[in-house]
Each structure stands twice: as structure tokens, then as C-alpha cells.
């Protein structure tokens, strides 16, 4: 069985020292090892952004695509090969701005993949513009007078879009994050894990200390029932989205792959492509 070290490669990330994304990388490596994956059984598909580089920093199959499209690419990979464990990942701009349409529909579709968002409330790679996750009043290069748009709540959106797994974590809490990624990878269906992953270079407001002060860990509520959707929505609203832990999970809904009529339970990629003469004749006959 592979250890988390086998999910490491010799590439030095080009992230700034202290960037939250380092811990997300480590948590993915640990979670993959903990659930017994071999590196070649994992595919990490990422978007564009500082965070999007993550697929190059994990020893697994990786595809670094285009901005905002990690999810459709990842869903394509999963459809092609159900035997792979597929992670999609990227930044808050990637997933909640340019790629928001895909996010909502990937949630609805419920293919068995895990989506990990590195949410730093800013655009890192393009050097500090506002993101849909930026707080109102937040001053950035593109909002010098402070953001005047309301902050998007991905957790609320996920729940209303029919999510079957919603979690949130903080990159400083490696243990919780690893556990949640393991749970997400093991969940049969789409899992969303939003991770507060501070940008130490361009976001001087939402810092490690700021998160430590403001987040609430669901562990504090021993009676919290993550299978209760109404309670989940209420808790998100009560905490203004600043909560961490497994917020909601529906274990009953089958995944897209399982619902698609006729869709092979084995990896489609391994199938013989030849069309038999008999099948060909049958198809042609319909046009006579």
C-alpha cells in the first residue's frame, strides 16, 4: 500500500512561503494514502490560478486545464474511467466566478468526484483582484473603494443545488482537512470541500489569525446531524458561513454513473471499440 510520501513528487511548488495551498496539497496526499489508493489510481484535475498548480505537485495523474473548467474536465475523466478516483480542484475565482455555472451543475449531476476549492477570498495569480468570496468593503486592486457586491455563499448554493456532500475546512487544521477529504473521496457522489486557504501576499484581511478567530468548528455541536438539510442550511446562515466540518451528507442518492441507463459499471476506457457486424447491420437496418 502506498504511503503519503509516494504521493509526493520532486517538484517544488511556486507558491509563496506560507501560502495556505501547501497544507491542502499535503492533506490530499495523506487522504489518498489513508484510503488505500495507489498514485496511478488518482487523477487530479485543476483549474488556473495559484491553487490550480496543485495537480503538478502531487504524484498522481494530473491535468492542469483552463480557467474555470476543472469540473467539466474532471467529470469527463470520471465518465471515461469509473475505476479512477478523481479530484477536481482550484481557486475561489476558478470555481465560483468563471466556473460557477459548472459548479452548480456538477453538484446537481452528482458524478462521483471530489471538488476541493482553495478559497482565499481573492485572485492570487493575477495579483490581487476581488473575488466573489471577497467580503463587502474589501479593498483590492479592482475595488480600490471596497467591494460593493455581496459575498457569495458557496455552501448555501451547494445545498440548494442538491449537493450530496458539503464540507468546509481550514488549511491550518491539517487533521480535520485530511479527514474531510477522506470522507469526500469515499462518498459515492459529488463532494464539495471548500477550504479556507489564506493568501499571505494579497489578502491582508483574511489571514490565518483572522480565520482562527472567526471560524466555528462543528465539533462544538455534538448534536449536529449532517444528514439534516434544513439544519445544515440554518447552521450555515447562523455562522455566516464561517463554520468547518462535515456540514451535509446524503448517503442515499445514487451517483450519476449509477443512474445512467446502460452505462457500464466497468471502466469505459477499457472497452473494446469494435462494432460487431451484427450490431452494425442492426443499426443500418433502421434506415431502410
Amino acid at each position: 500500500m502506498a504511503t503519503f510520501k509516494e504521493f509526493r513528487n520532486n517538484v517544488k511548488p511556486n507558491w509563496c512561503p506560507g501560502c495556505g495551498d501547501f497544507s491542502v496539497q499535503a492533506a490530499i496526499q495523506r487522504a489518498a494514502a489513508n484510503i488505500g489508493l495507489e498514485p496511478e489510481q488518482l487523477a487530479v484535475i485543476s483549474g488556473i490560478g495559484c491553487s490550480g498548480r496543485i495537480s503538478g505537485y502531487i504524484n498522481a495523474y494530473g491535468l492542469h486545464g483552463i480557467h474555470g473548467r476543472a469540473l467539466p474536465i474532471a467529470q469527463g475523466v470520471k465518465l471515461a474511467n469509473r475505476e479512477l478516483t478523481v479530484i477536481a480542484s482550484g481557486g475561489d475565482g476558478d470555481g465560483f466566478a468563471i466556473g460557477m455555472g459548472h459548479t452548480v451543475h456538477a453538484i446537481r449531476r452528482n458524478l462521483d468526484i471530489t471538488y476541493i476549492v482553495m478559497d482565499n477570498q481573492i485572485y492570487g495569480l493575477t495579483k490581487g483582484q476581488t473575488s466573489p468570496r471577497s467580503a463587502e468593503g474589501f479593498k483590492t486592486k479592482s475595488t480600490p473603494e471596497g467591494s460593493i457586491e455581496s459575498t457569495l455563499s458557496p455552501l448555501e448554493i451547494a445545498l440548494s443545488a442538491g449537493a450530496t456532500f458539503v464540507a468546509q475546512s481550514f488549511s491550518s487544521d491539517l487533521k480535520q482537512l485530511t479527514t474531510l477529504i477522506e470522507a469526500g473521496l469515499s462518498h459515492k457522489g459529488f463532494s464539495l470541500i471548500n477550504v479556507f486557504s489564506p493568501c499571505v501576499t494579497f489578502n491582508k484581511v483574511n489571514t490565518y489569525d483572522w480565520f482562527k478567530e472567526n471560524i466555528v468548528n462543528l465539533e462544538q455541536f455534538p448534536d449536529y446531524d449532517p444528514s439534516n438539510r434544513i439544519a445544515a442550511m440554518t447552521k450555515i446562515m447562523e455562522t455566516n458561513g464561517m463554520l468547518t466540518g462535515l456540514i451535509y451528507q446524503d448517503k442515499t442518492r445514487p451517483s450519476y454513473e449509477d443512474l445512467a441507463v446502460g452505462f457500464k459499471p466497468e471502466a469505459l476506457a477499457k472497452q473494446d471499440l469494435t462494432l460487431s457486424r451484427d450490431d452494425f447491420d442492426k443499426l443500418v437496418k433502421e434506415f431502410k
Binding site: P39, E40, Y61, H105, L273, T274
Partner: protein, 578 residues
């Protein structure tokens, strides 16, 4: 006896025009006639005038006709809009219900048949289509059994009683019109067909079938006219082969999902038209840059913007070739016949995997939706070539190095492993990268990688990249086209030949990379070149000028009013030039 005839049915959309046409033409197909259909429809679903025209012939035809022999009309609007197309001696079969009149200046024989009344008598006005097609069939004096067989197949599922009712409707329609006409019309007596069984389908179905034959097992797409039938066909078929069709939230998702699935190892495609193609451009670049196979169908329709969504045009040529930012290897194939729609899909998937590039198969609305006879398709021509796909087990790599997915090779094509393979791990990125797929900004590497990718297609010539058809004698006048227009050109050529005017015709099937060497000899030999296309700016002509030259010989023949060329238009234009 005549060898060909044109028949049209018109009415309000949703009124049974489609089904009348379907049953009538299925029966003709069974008799072995060659058929070529043209659908006139508006973007409305219910209501609005619609008509279907089919040309029936004892010889192969691939063009609509200039005129019309028989018009079947469900309302006066259909008479008024279409009667002027009737040639002298033509016939109108119209529903007596609306007291049809022949418009002024039209000399056609009118048969007012109580189409609705008969249908209602038999229980439902829904059977109007059966009465109308029965009347048409009877006027042509064709054998009844074949027609009844077609009816049997259309309604068999609904039980014997329904079949019987419909056959009765057909008979009553026929009997009524024959009593009026005094028997089948002598002038419309068709010569017997060769009786050889042909297929009868639209281009989109041929492409869907071709994709299955090519081993395509996934399709991700977003609906759009005139592409949706590809998706609708595969939705019915792919589950039988373990695959599926996924309707995505937009075309960006459709194309990127197809890229992901091709990367994952399954032959996957998407299909769209101009607006969707525009949305796909960035992703096409990703496919080119990451050398991930990809197949896209673009069914051209009237642009720009929403344009003329249900009308004929060939105006995406520039977008197909130049649309993506940066420079990537890409192949654009334009089938020109229904048979090519089938075979080209197989070739498209093979090229996509062999060269690890995006391949776009571009049709036009008339080819995609015009229902027509298709010669028997040859199972033995189906061959699947996956190029340098590594399927054998790999050895462990020294020092845990990555698999060199982008290794420099003589032909620029690198071995490709699929995710899941042990010891095959590598990285894929749209960022410029080294041989293992790692991001690299090295100037030396950049040049080598660009040359590698862009050099892959230097030798590519698809089957019949430039296809010559029609008269084979040398001629001073050369007609060049792409897509569905070839059949109409051939017909104009035949008329010109009767007047002693020799012409030559070539169809450009490989639109990109442009097959200069194959086109040049034709241009060289010709004194004058007519480049015929359904767009306003002469995109194909410009491609030829840019790549091959001969500016002084080239004349544009353009049509961009949304309708396909008619043989007479081409005939007139060529005659003027002669």
C-alpha cells in the same frame, strides 16, 4: 415515363407535414428510388408555415430541383407560398376544407380532396397525413402493397386496429383523387427504380452512426439547431454499447468534458453549431496544446450571432480554422455527401488519436438535415487506429521519473498512456511544458515544443482531401465548392454539357491544413475558377487565394440568403462566364 419528379407538402408546423413526408418517402425508398429532401422550417415549433420537398429519381441525385411537380397543401397559405414553383402541368392536391384556389398566373391542375373530412370520418383529424400521402401515392400509380407495408411499420406498435384505420385513410384518399383524375396521372408515371435497397437518412444520423462505428462511446453536448439530431440519435444508441450521452450546462462544459473523457481514454465527441463553436474556442486550444484527441462536429447554419438558425450557410470556415488563440495543430474536415458523413467520422476519430489533435467535422444545415438516399455503407471500411496509444504494461521508471508523455520524436507524435496505467504517471498542462509535461518557460524548449506540435500534421492528407467529380474531360471552367453543394453543381454541369460547355468540379474536403498541392494542378489547368459557397465574403475563395494563389482566375459565386443553391443559379452563372 419520367425518371424524376419533385413533390412537396406544406402546412402549419406541427400539423403532420413531417409524418406525411416520412411515410411517403419511406415507401419510395423501399421501391429503390433515389430521394433527396429539403426541409423548410422556421424556428417556431407549432404554427408557422413549413414545407418538405423531396425529389424522387431513378438515378442518384444530391440536389433539390428548381421546380415542382406535385404540391400537397394543408392550407391556402401553403398553396400561395409554393404554387409559383410548380412547373407548367403541375398538380396541387389540397384539402377541400379551405376551398382552395389556384393563385393567379399559375397553371396547375387542382384536386380538392376532403382530406380533413375523410380523416375525421375515420375517427380523427390526425389521420390527415395518411389521406394526403395516400392521394399522392395514388396519383403516381405506384404499387400499393409497399405503401401499406410502410404504414404497417409506422403504426404496428399501436396495434392492428390502428394500422387498419390508417390503411383505410390511405385508400380513401387515393380513391377520391383517382375518381377525380380518372386514374393515375400519365405525365407523372415514374420509370421503375433499380429496386436496390438504399438507406434513407439525414447527415446528422449518418454522423451519429459513423461515430458508433468509430468506437465513440461518450458524447457531451448542449442542444442547438441543426446539430441536435446527432445527440438525439446517440442518446438512443450509446447505452446499448455501454456508453452514454450527457447534456451539459453549456458548450464550454460539453467540449471540456469531451477533452477530459478523451484524456481518460474513451473516444468522445461533442456537436454544435456556430454559437456553440464560438464558446468552445479556448478549449480547442487546450486540446491542441495538451495533445489530447478531440472530435467536434460543427453543423454550420446562418450566422452571425443567432443569425438564421434554421437556414443554410457555410460561414464558419474562418472561425473553424482561425478561431483559437495561439497556434495549434488542428484538422478541419468537411464531408460533402451523406456517405462521407459516415466515413469521415471514423477518419476523424482515427486522426484525432493518431495525431493527438482536435478534429472538427464541419457540415452545413442542408447536409445535416436534408433527408436523402445513402448508398449501402461498407462495414469492411471501418477500421480503428489509435496511433501511439500505449496499451502494454510499463516498466517501473528509473528514480520514479515521470512518463515522457511529450517526448520528442521524429514525427512529433509522442506515446500516450491513459490515466490508471501503472508507471505511466505524467503531467498534462495547457501551460508550455517539457517532455514530462512540467511547466517550462525555457526558450529552447518552447521552440522545440511548438515545432513538434505544429509539425505533426505536415503530411496529413485525408481520404479524398480534394475530390473531383462530374465530367472528367478537361475544361477551362473549374467550379470549386465545399459541403453539400456538390450535387447541385453536378446537375448544373450536366445541363451545361448539353450545350457544349465543359466544366470541371472539385470539392475541398480537407479544409485545414489546406491541401495546396492537391488543389494547385486544377487551378493551374483552368482558365477560370468559380468558387461557390453559402456565405457573403467568399471564405473558401480567400483560403484558396491565400494558400494557392491564382487571384486573377477566381470568381466568387456566393449565396447568403439562407437557402441552398439551385441548379439553375449555378447554370446561369457559369453560362454568363463562358
Amino acid at each position: 415515363m419520367i425518371s424524376q419528379l419533385s413533390w412537396k407538402i406544406g402546412g402549419q408546423q406541427g400539423e403532420g407535414v413531417e409524418s406525411t413526408d416520412r411515410i411517403f418517402s419511406t415507401a419510395l425508398n423501399r421501391l429503390g428510388y433515389y430521394l433527396y429532401g429539403y426541409r423548410h422550417f422556421s424556428s417556431r415549433i407549432k404554427g408557422g408555415h413549413t414545407n418538405n420537398k423531396i425529389r424522387i429519381s431513378t438515378k442518384p441525385i444530391r440536389a433539390i430541383s428548381d421546380d415542382l411537380d406535385i404540391l400537397v397543401a394543408f392550407d391556402q397559405e401553403s398553396v400561395d407560398l409554393n404554387a409559383k414553383e410548380l412547373r407548367a402541368g403541375g398538380v396541387i392536391v389540397a384539402d377541400a376544407k379551405f376551398n382552395p384556389t389556384v393563385p393567379e398566373g399559375v397553371s396547375a391542375q387542382l384536386f380538392a380532396v376532403p382530406i380533413t373530412a375523410i380523416a375525421e370520418e375515420l375517427g380523427t383529424s390526425l389521420m390527415k397525413n395518411m389521406v394526403a400521402s395516400g392521394a399522392s401515392w395514388a396519383l403516381l400509380g405506384l404499387p400499393m402493397e409497399v405503401f401499406n407495408q410502410a404504414v404497417q411499420e409506422e403504426f404496428g406498435r399501436k396495434g392492428a386496429a390502428v394500422v387498419e384505420k390508417n390503411i383505410e385513410a390511405v385508400k380513401r384518399g387515393g380513391d377520391f383523387v383517382l375518381a377525380q383524375a380518372g386514374g393515375p396521372l400519365e405525365a407523372f408515371k415514374l420509370e421503375e427504380a433499380d429496386g436496390k435497397q438504399k438507406l434513407f437518412m439525414i447527415g446528422n444520423e449518418a454522423m451519429g452512426l459513423g461515430s458508433i462505428a468509430a468506437g465513440c462511446r461518450l458524447m457531451s453536448a448542449y442542444p442547438i439547431t441543426p446539430a441536435s439530431e446527432v445527440m438525439e440519435y446517440l442518446i438512443k444508441k450509446l447505452p446499448k454499447f455501454g456508453g452514454t450521452v450527457i447534456q451539459t450546462e453549456d458548450e464550454i462544459a460539453a467540449v471540456t468534458m469531451a477533452i477530459g473523457a478523451n484524456y481518460g481514454g474513451v473516444r468522445t465527441m461533442t456537436a454544435s453549431a456556430g454559437p456553440g463553436l464560438s464558446l468552445m474556442m479556448e478549449a480547442i486550444g487546450l486540446s491542441g496544446m495538451t495533445e489530447t484527441p478531440l472530435v467536434i462536429i460543427d453543423t454550420q447554419r446562418g450566422g452571425p450571432s443567432t443569425g438564421l438558425p434554421t437556414k443554410q450557410e457555410q460561414s464558419d470556415i474562418n472561425a473553424l480554422i482561425y478561431g483559437t488563440h495561439g497556434e495549434i495543430p488542428k484538422v478541419v474536415i468537411a464531408p460533402s455527401t451523406i456517405e462521407e458523413c459516415f466515413y469521415d467520422m471514423i477518419e476523424a476519430f482515427n486522426i484525432a488519436e493518431t495525431y493527438q489533435v482536435p478534429v472538427i467535422v464541419a457540415t452545413d444545415l442542408q447536409l445535416s438535415l436534408g433527408k436523402q438516399s445513402c448508398e449501402q455503407l461498407d462495414y469492411d471500411r471501418i477500421a480503428i487506429e489509435r496511433g501511439k496509444l500505449v496499451t502494454e504494461e510499463l516498466e517501473p521508471r528509473e528514480d520514479n521519473k515521470l512518463f515522457p508523455r511529450y517526448a520528442f520524436t521524429e514525427d512529433g507524435i509522442s506515446p500516450r498512456v491513459l490515466p490508471g496505467a501503472k508507471h505511466g504517471i505524467h503531467h498534462v498542462t495547457g501551460v508550455e511544458h517539457d517532455q514530462e509535461g512540467r511547466p517550462s518557460e525555457s526558450a529552447v524548449n518552447r521552440r522545440k515544443m511548438m515545432d513538434k506540435r505544429l509539425g505533426k500534421l505536415s503530411q496529413l492528407r485525408i481520404t479524398d482531401a480534394v475530390k473531383a467529380d462530374g465530367p472528367s474531360e478537361p475544361a477551362d471552367l473549374l467550379v470549386v465548392s465545399m459541403g453539400s453543394t456538390g450535387g447541385t453543381i453536378n446537375e448544373a454541369q450536366a445541363r451545361l454539357a448539353q450545350e457544349g460547355i465543359a466544366t470541371k468540379h472539385i470539392t475541398v474536403r480537407q479544409m485545414h491544413p489546406f491541401p495546396n498541392d492537391l488543389i494547385e494542378p486544377y487551378l493551374q489547368r483552368a482558365k477560370q475558377v468559380v468558387v461557390l459557397e453559402n456565405n457573403a465574403t467568399g471564405q473558401l475563395a480567400n483560403l484558396i487565394k491565400q494558400n494557392v494563389g491564382y487571384h486573377d482566375k477566381i470568381v466568387n459565386l456566393l449565396k447568403y440568403d439562407g437557402t441552398p443553391f439551385l441548379p439553375s443559379e449555378i447554370y446561369n452563372a457559369c453560362k454568363e462566364l463562358n
